[in-house]
Subunit: 377 residues, 2 copies
């Protein structure tokens, strides 16, 4: 052993107790976590390869199938945030040199385009300024032109507060032999989305938004069509950690009798995710959707009564979980948000990526304290 | 909204409460998590970009600097398990076409070789059967031959129960203008390791072993030499999620005044990691090392008194945190482990990768129940 004298000491900050202030998390996420989910995440852990853990993972799979409204066998949770699911989908579906079409109307499309470029895809983009959406005709035209193997669309564009129309998009993609990848991180559980009926091939979300679990896990599901593409590749996906061949075995989705150690999943995070999916199952998806809509409409009315303007004009295109307010002229959004945080412990946030300086965001969620949920910026 | 009739129902398993049995986790990891760390991880969360969260991340950085015995500014925790840190290190340090040397004497070297191959590196290997280790002369010969930009070595090879000698390895690497990457997932906090003194360029560990936190976060640190290489690349790392340019900003390590949203870190996981590093700081690294050694020696004696043979003959090469027992002839290791789990709720495990069928593992940890810790397979 090394002599004591050679060791450097720890900085004194680590001898102070952990301090965590209470916050009303009304930004676009993470959300406040209800005590029941916190308690589940704080339970003594078991091994990541114990049979009871596999049982819990099977439950999670069923919970995701319900939340996504899919019967896909290839349904699981990523050991990471929504970005992990985003990279996993692109890395597994696309091979270097293949063509990808990305709809960019906010930050999430920008991210997917960046991820696809890095792994060597030919990236084509459809572009709208924040708040804009794409018509099926625009999408079809681009699919015909670029012949991509994958089309990415954000269902809940939280950076603009937009919920994107999904009807018909999957059918158009399949007409052009293209897979449809949808990001529902900000919308899942808050706005209606039916993976199988809407012909979505790959769908992912995050644990920390309408599901109200801590960040760190990300439900994802792949259609049979998507599985056919990703399990018949010529090249291995660039990431070993995100290789669906291994992840599908870890989640018992590959039909093999034995599960082989791949990585150590976030056991506590899976406990919390299971609890959040159980709450959604108990409440029912329709009730969760209608609850979000009711609260959002109440919030919108209150904001407009105060003379504020909502960033998304068309009610049907407003994301029920994240409301965006156009920043009134002459006001500094950073000052407003800092004031609300300092005096009311409430988090609202500014725009993200292309919408910075354009909007301020407030999240209406099912476990919120209503008294605060309806406050305006 | 979709009509209720079109929705499929949730499987009934999700309407049952979460059930988690109690286990003595004496396998190679994850470890049992002490109540103090569970409580930290179960606290109400705050936003991943709140200033108090950045304060907690700064504390974590100090805690890792102490645990690693480094003054590296580029010290942080990954949002993922040890494998995430492994991929992060390879993806950021190595560019496609560059030469990498991997020491394989168990499963971890195999994994790094696989990761490096996938991202397009020229991979060379040094090989020993499980339990074997590499002399500095062997390492130097290979460095001279292959001229790699990176050499990977496992400090705590948990699949064999070996702690690898580290003295001089860093100096040899630097003589050949090569960076030294070390995996200390199974050894950090249990066996002496001094990142700066031993000239290690990139060091990572996991939260769920001797640190006793739940899995899902992974401390990692980069020397200035490693930073120089990774921040002067010609190509972008293949993963956006693991790009150190973004992660160093998220952790406040890049000297820039503003932190820009990259991904949502596992807030609860960071609370738990901070608590586990605080416990290590309070206890002192030397005490943690000597405690592990004392318990391991007691365990080794007890096992040998029972007539069992330890897999690593040389005491100095035995990993204090993971003891490997040579499976006695005529016994089925799977049956033995199943019996112990069923009747005593104790987890021991078999070998991993190349050591499957050769060893059975038991972890001696600082928070273990001593009465169980000393039981033999």
């Amino acid at each position: 052993m090394m002599p004591r004298s050679v060791l450097s000491r720890c900085a004194p900050c680590m001898l102070r107790p952990l301090e965590v202030p209470f916050r009303y998390l009304f930004g676009p996420g993470p959300s406040n976590v209800p005590p029941r989910i916190l308690a589940a995440g704080g339970r003594p852990i078991i091994g990541h390869m114990h049979s009871e853990m596999f049982g819990i993972m099977n439950d999670i799979k069923k919970g995701i199938q319900y939340a996504f409204q899919t019967s896909n066998n290839m349904t699981l949770a990523m050991s990471g945030s929504g970005h992990t699911a985003m990279e996993c989908a692109v890395f597994n579906i696309v091979e270097p040199g293949e063509s990808v079409l990305v709809a960019i109307n906010g930050i999430w499309g920008e991210r997917v385009a960046e991820i696809a470029e890095r792994m060597g895809a030919k990236v084509h983009t459809l572009f709208k300024t924040p708040g804009g959406h794409f018509t099926n005709a625009e999408i079809e035209q681009a699919l015909a032109k670029y012949k991509p193997v994958l089309f990415f669309l954000t269902h809940g564009e939280s950076s603009a507060g937009l919920v994107h129309p999904m009807d018909g998009v999957g059918d158009i993609c399949h007409k052009y032999n293209c897979l449809l990848l949808v990001d529902s991180v900000a919308s899942l559980g808050a706005a209606p989305l039916l993976m199988d009926q809407q012909n979505i091939d790959i769908l992912y979300t995050g644990s920390q938004k309408a599901l109200n679990a801590p960040p760190g896990t990300a439900p994802v599901s792949f259609s049979e069509r998507a599985c056919h593409k990703m399990f018949n590749r010529k090249t291995k996906p660039v990431s070993y950690l995100l290789d669906m061949t291994h992840l599908s075995n870890y989640w018992g989705n590959d039909g093999k009798p034995e599960r082989i150690y791949h990585h150590t999943g976030p056991v506590s995070g899976f406990f919390a995710l299971r609890e959040s999916l159980a709450i959604l199952a108990e409440m029912g998806l329709e009730n969760s959707w209608s609850h979000h809509t009711e609260i959002a409409e109440y919030l919108w009315k209150g904001l407009e009564d105060l003379g504020l303007k909502l960033f998304i004009k068309d009610k049907d295109l407003r994301l029920p979980s994240v409301t965006t307010i156009a920043i009134p002229e002459g006001y500094d959004w950073k000052e407003l948000l800092a004031y609300i945080m300092k005096h009311h412990r409430i988090e609202f946030t500014g725009g993200l990526g292309p919408s910075v300086g354009m909007v301020s965001k407030s999240l209406s969620r099912r476990h919120d304290n209503a008294a605060f949920n309806y406050m305006a910026v």
